[in-house]
Amino acid sequence: MVTENPEYLLEALHVVKVFGTLRANDDVTLRVKPGEIHAFLGENGAGKSTLVKMIYGALQPTSGEFRWKGKSVNVGNPAAARKLGIGMVFQHFSLFEALTVAENIALAMPGDFDMAKLSEKIARVSKEYGLPLEPTAIVADLSVGERQRIEIVRCLLQEPRLLIMDEPTAVLTPQEADQLFVVLNRLSREGCAVLYISHRLEEVKRICHNATILRHGKVVANVDPTLETAASLARLMVGADIHVVHTVREQSEGAARLKLDNLNLPADGPFVVELKNISLEVKAGEVIAIAGVAGNGQSELFDAISGERPLARDAMISFDGRPSGRLGVNARRNVGAAFVPEERLGHGAVPGFKLSENVVLTRHSSDRSLVKMGMLQSGGATVVSERVIKAFDVRKGKPDPEARALSGGNLQKFVIGRELDRKPGILVVNQPTWGVDAGASATIRQAIIDLSRDGSAVLVISQDLDEIYEVADRIAVISRGQLSETYRANEISLQQIGLLMAGAHEVKEARHAATA
């Protein structure tokens, strides 16, 4: 088994990781050669982070084996991983803003160190790799790209043989990303392997030598990305075996119930996507789905439509013809709109509150049976809660449990059921079946379609293309805060959606420029 010059630097063989009833990794095998840039692709929740955390020693596998340079290893913790020569750059940096670059790096160095020597080394290594860093600079003053450099240099100082990068370009400008690619190519030439996690398929095609694609915890393909197209990679990620069950329904020419008209919303923080000139009409009786890779403005769009972040002008959004851009979330609910956010716990529901209390959360201003003269009518909430539980078959341990005690799928059924129970004229759902098991997904999708057939307008924001084809009459794609035109679901292919998702925004801007 042990060879002198093993072909693979790292091998993960038949790795299984089970969380409760969820098989996050199901017989995953991944092989990384020395010096290669290996892309690790998959949708949100496909199990990428789980495997990477096991490689880095932050999680232990339920079964399966890891080999390092051909030898079986048991990586008990991140320190052990670093000792082997594995470095990791996380998506969310772990830096102390008030400390200097050198101090931050010193904190992660094992054993004693000499600050002056370390600073000198940081300056040298960072310069060598074209990642200029000033060791005495305070982190708070640095840009996101510079902060990432600190994390990378911190890994490089330990002379890693394998560098794991978790969506490194998600926070970078295109120019910063280009610089990063230069560094990664150089590392690769020097023999350091890179495990590169990303959603951005064009990047993967550009810099990666090999790609392993994960879907629902299973490896579905291992391909050479340079021979693939972005669209074919996208198809692999979401499943080549998509059975398009969607049949075109009679196009109802109803009135526009939800209308977005040149909706603009500036970014209000460093990780927030700016929404630019979004226009869309959702008619009575139809479901429109917005596809897109995570982090391209979906949650910002949801906040703008729900009114959690009010808009500058009333005309930017209308419900049933009523301009409502500056109304708050309850005023919008009172005109018949309902909203289901992506995050169930802590956004759609309060984790430590009982289900009946969570009914009050979104219905206190629209439902007269819940609040009288400012006092809660607990009986009213229980009636609603039990009705939702029955209608959506919410499984639970006791009559009125805390929201956090429910499984993801059951809580999602409850959160969606709570809104559907109001028979809303307009429903906006962000990621309706994210992290939800197949049975609950089917129930939820059916309920969404049924609502629209009763004359409501439904807008679904989703990353799951299976789901989009299953529920949508028309499809639009969001990328970098811009929305494409809408297409009839039977007129747009998976390849076209993949292209729109993968980087079509430049194309789109060019087209806009051309038509302007």
């Binding site: 048991n74 979330v329 956004h347 509150f353 959360l361 006092m375 809660l376």
Partner: protein, 368 residues
């Protein structure tokens, strides 16, 4: 072997109520050790400190009733402030400056007898109380405004304003408000008649009733009203609060006005009863001790009432310990600090289950 905290799926209702009991037990054990180091008999010292004030409960001797009344009088401001702070802390609004709001309430309310010493009518009493509440609110409005407008940490601003209020009081009683006939003592004129709260029998005054009424009213507010629901949601999950259309800024104002107003009421009530005039020191740190009351009472207004009685014992015991054990009454502060420390530590068991793990060291990496 190591200790592991395992997350529970729901919070443990048993631990919510057991945690303060364990904390009190640990505080007593620690206290006994401290007494032993001081060369005292720990059991005797604990008896003097914690049980002697309650002697009436088993002796029924009329002479012992006095200390029980003292207990109620000391518990009243603690419960009043603690109930308000409970609501604040549930909303994640950290008003640490109740002591300053108490002082401001005492100053505002006392302005009436100081400026119009001759005015005696039932209205005097009512107006003094109202001014006391308004004074506490006014003082609390400063950190609320700074928080909402500039994002300044209310923990720091409200705490620092305690010292500003203390110095303001000091200046007033030594300067403009000093009793002209008071032989230069730093105090205002002694209040009389309608400038004082009526008492039942000399010690116990109607201020204790305010605490009971406030606890009952706040229990209804938090448990039954939409406002209380809003406060709880915003404290538990700000993002869900925004989704429910509740205003974070509104909650900050509401909590500071409520807790500040109650602290002001406690302050003016103290001045109108136990103290009887303004002087440089009007409270043995009720505003700070009430923070412990709030946590010991499980951030529940009725709980605060019970916890206030427990903390009041530490004040009475401190006085008793000074007299019969010859130790500094600062020991009361030591006990209060230890108690808060243990409550916060034990509260982690509400959401986590402690478990001892034997022999499961992280698996080693084979040598290369």
């Amino acid at each position: 072997m190591r200790l592991l905290l395992e997350k529970r799926s729901e919070h443990s209702h048993t631990m919510v109520y057991l945690s303060p009991v364990i904390a009190i037990g640990l505080t007593l054990v620690t206290g006994a050790i401290i007494f032993a180091f001081d060369g005292l008999n720990p059991l005797e010292a604990l008896y003097v400190y914690f049980l002697e004030p309650l002697k009436y409960l088993w002796t029924f001797a009329p002479d012992d009733l006095w200390s029980l009344e003292q207990l109620a009088v000391k518990a009243a401001p603690l419960a009043l402030i603690g109930a308000g702070l409970s609501v604040s802390y549930l909303a994640n609004v950290w008003n640490i400056g109740a002591e300053g709001q108490l002082t401001a309430g005492a100053i505002f309310g006392s302005a009436i007898p100081v400026m119009f010493p001759e005015w005696q009518s039932p209205l005097t009493l009512v107006l003094m109380l109202v001014f006391g509440v308004l004074g506490g609110m006014a003082w609390a409005s400063i950190p609320a405004f700074l928080k909402n407008r500039f994002g300044a940490s209310e923990i720091l601003t409200s705490l620092m304003l305690v010292y500003v209020a203390g110095l303001l009081l000091d200046w007033l009683v030594r300067g403009p408000w000093r009793d002209p006939g008071g032989h230069n003592f730093p105090q205002t004129i002694a209040f009389s008649d309608w400038q004082l709260l009526p008492s039942f029998d000399g010690t116990l005054h109607i201020g204790t009733l305010f605490a009971v009424i406030a606890a009952a009213a706040l229990t209804v507010l938090m448990g039954r009203s939409l406002k209380g629901f809003e406060i709880r949601v915003l404290g538990a999950s700000p993002r869900a609060g925004r989704f429910a259309g509740f205003s974070r800024k509104g909650a900050v104002w509401f909590c500071f006005m409520l807790s500040g107003g109650l602290a002001g009421l406690a302050g003016i009530s103290e001045v109108m009863s136990t103290v009887g005039q303004l002087q440089p020191s009007i409270s043995p740190g009720y505003g700070f001790t009430a923070i412990i009351v709030a946590f010991l009472g499980r951030l529940n207004p009725i709980g605060a009432l019970v916890a206030a009685l427990a903390l009041a014992i530490s004040y009475l015991g401190g006085e008793a310990a000074q007299v019969s054990l010859q130790i500094s009454d600062k020991i009361a502060k030591v006990f209060q600090g230890i108690l808060l420390f243990y409550i916060l530590a034990c509260d982690s068991m509400i959401l986590y289950r402690p478990r001892l793990i034997f022999n499961r060291a992280p698996a080693a990496v084979p040598a290369e």
